[in-house]
Symmetry: C2
Subunit: 104 residues, 2 copies
Amino acid sequence: MLSTLTDKWAALAIAALADGPQRHGELARRIAGVSQKMLTQTLRKLERDGLLTRTVTASVPARVDYALTPLSCDLFPVMVAIKTWAEAHMDRVFEARAQFDARP
Amino acid sequence: MLSTLTDKWAALAIAALADGPQRHGELARRIAGVSQKMLTQTLRKLERDGLLTRTVTASVPARVDYALTPLSCDLFPVMVAIKTWAEAHMDRVFEARAQFDARP
């Protein structure tokens, strides 16, 4: 489960849903570069972990909305902390790797 | 790199080193259940990412000390936030999974 915290697509889906419930198509448009298959897998994994709900409205055609849960709302500050740390420090990680890999 | 944040052995190594520089043997004793091979791989990965330093002292036998870096010190609060979230919420995740998996 904790790998969800650092899963790019999961983080982007949770961030998008922070604006409120959305449909698959809306999420696909908002999350640049995500394939339909990857988005479907990610949403399913998040639903299974209790991090989002999937509500089907029996209209014609049926409407499916995804929404955050209290569990994912609690998770949001942690994901923001990870994102903030990564944005501030990834350059230094890449520098460290380059030096490490250049060693004899 | 971000997977390091949710890597159990990396988190335990960083937490142990928060008490100051230590040798491989000390870390092996402090991190319950870690194999020599896993600890060596984890320390090497953390060193490569710039999250710890490995200092060799040319004594006989040679002495190798591992220590945190400013980069990992900055990472520490994020790892604590992840640990705190996990401890408070993993039961609900497991419950959600059980319900999801029990669905027809």
